[in-house]
Symmetry: D2
């Protein structure tokens, strides 16, 4: 199992069985073995483009809620990676299918999509950086875990090989380790050496689990688009 830091491991375990339902969802299995209908994948990609825009906004919110230059640099680098790299992947794949970026941008958000990103943003606005990071973590690190597993099990030659290679690749894996380290540092700074003794521990686990459930809803939405 991937190792993206101490806190992440604890949050993931506390989010079971939802975590497994997310990371081993039928949509994910279909990406791995290549059986996912292309229409479902494209439906997902269009929604995910809009998702990434609001997810980038949430990482930018993390910059505004940082307490150290280190935290700011981490969060700002993530915003750049999302806007410059990950968004470009979607634009590229969709362009190859004849879908222009303006069309992607005009995609009407489905409720499952909108619910997820606005929940993350509100986690940040209502709480502090930890509340926000707990809501941001499942997407970043979950995709890292999914990508690494699918690459190990299926390689990246199948019809969704480019997707798998992106998230299994060293660039994204390093980003996951960086986010894990950011979370561990932010926890230590605010909650001390024994975070799960804090009264906030349960609420943070709940944030992580809610975001995990919203990931499941996102895959469901992708499947329904087939």
């Amino acid at each position: 199992m991937s190792d993206y830091g101490k806190t992440y491991g604890l949050w993931r375990d506390a989010a079971e069985p939802d975590w497994t339902a997310y990371t081993r969802h039928a949509f994910v299995q279909g990406l791995g073995d290549g059986t996912l209908p292309r229409s479902a994948f494209l439906h997902y990609l269009r929604q995910d483009y809009v998702f990434l825009i609001h997810f980038s906004r949430a990482w930018a919110l993390a910059v505004t809620k940082s307490e150290t230059v280190e935290e700011m640099r981490h969060a700002a680098a993530t915003v750049q990676a999302l806007i410059c790299d990950e968004l470009a992947l979607h634009v590229g794949v969709c362009a190859a299918e004849g879908i222009a970026e303006a069309e992607l941008f005009a995609t009407q958000e489905e409720t499952a999509n909108l619910a997820y990103t606005r929940y993350v943003l509100d986690a940040g606005h209502s709480g502090d950086l930890l509340d926000l990071l707990a809501a941001l973590a499942p997407c970043v690190i979950g995709y890292g875990e999914i990508g690494a597993r699918l690459a190990a099990e299926h390689g990246s030659d199948g019809p969704y090989g480019e997707w798998i290679a992106t998230y299994a690749g060293e660039g994204f894996q390093q980003a996951c380790r960086d986010v894990g380290a950011l979370i561990d540092g932010a926890m230590a700074r605010r909650l001390g050496d024994d975070p799960h003794a804090s009264p906030r521990w349960q609420a943070l686990c709940d944030r992580f689990r809610t975001a995990t459930r919203l990931e499941i809803g996102f895959w469901d939405m992708g499947m329904a688009g087939a």
Copy 2:
């Protein structure tokens, strides 16, 4: 048709056919003629309790985004009415059914519920007071329109008469007219005498329509809870 101000009428017309789908939803018709299953009503009430908490937060956000003392007073009075009066209605009805407030508060938010309130909050955080008001309006004023119509068509003697009487009552109707006046004033202050000539007009209509669609999803959720 109820008259809650100039802007509201324009936004409502622009949101058709979604506006009619919201205000004449099967859930609404069932409230009026008394055929709505009690289980659906209670499911709705539990979710609506959590909804009102986050909706109150969104009205409090409107206080922080006001530019005049008049706007602040309006928004602050709405927060008080929501927290003190409307929340109490839910607590009372649920108590009569043996559901305690602590249980209400612990209700797990469904996605349709969470999507709606977090969308409204983000409308406020990402934009200005107008963006927030356009997302707040469909719930407040739509309930006023629904309450007034159901009272006229069915009276308030049926099994859901207390619900109808609340929203048809002079207190809530006045609140709707106040919100309509707040919106008209805020529009004039920021967009001038001819708001629909503003480049922002379409985006504000879209906000209102998105919130209207999320209302439809909320009723759907209520029906599904039967």
Copy 3:
């Protein structure tokens, strides 16, 4: 010495000698013994009117950052008290001096004023409810402490008797106790039974102290307006 709760006492002690410099400032002493120039008082009142508008916005922000209905009710009640009662006091006193509310609203904020309220608002946006409450506390509770002391030492017959009576009065004193209880509850909920063992303790003390220093700057501004 006034008793407005456990946390307040600890924060106040940690903010010495700034706390004494704030609560026993020459401006305060002049309010008590009646030697404060009327021009300084009116200058202060005009600035304080604008202060209260932004301070109310900050309390409204606290509603959006509450985690329980209890916290929300406390914060919303404070918004109402500030907008309906305390703002009215300023309007009344100024009206008696021939200064209309529109003129008050148009007062150009001095830097010492602007710095204070925007610092408090940012404490809320960058952190969680505790960060915001630590920045809100010195004004509310400090005025309670000042009012009670001045009333005990000087009574309320002097030229600034109405001001003293307002803050020494049972209404405001109860508000201070309520805010103290809100803070104690919010601390216990988030930091546990031993808040000063939390890594956040020092940062919260620093917030309280910074707001205290900004209070000193506010009195300095009042004196300079003589």
Copy 4:
């Protein structure tokens, strides 16, 4: 005179005589002719390091308030430039004077400094992207104008030549033109072809002027640190 876009020129003219007081402040003249005391410069640099941290947070807030991918990219690129490049300049100059970054970070913010950045952040939180950009503009573009003029008048051989070269350099000048274009685009998108006919025009000019006045206060603070 530098040309950083249409809106900028209008805002600058509307901010006179404050704009001239800011851009031709004694501190600026001392940077140009080399007569500024080193102690004043270092005092300014320490405060400006903390300023840049909060100013970066404000640009990150702009990412969260963007309505197009283009606006997001502009704002995110500015965050990166501030955190990676401009902050590094301060760290480098201060390191050469024996001041470590940890010491810079621990600098106690003076009121003039704190007032400025928190005002900008609140402009963003209380309004929309235009309110935020109007408060962000004077620092970015004013420094571009100052740098270009000092380089033309004095070259960059004097004791503050590195400072002048940074802001007169093509990198910073291009950043100013980019920000000017971002502002022009954001204005057209929200206010249309004739922004100064909008009811918001005056309020936006006021935001720009207030930030300009806070710049004057910042230079005053620098001088006082001599």
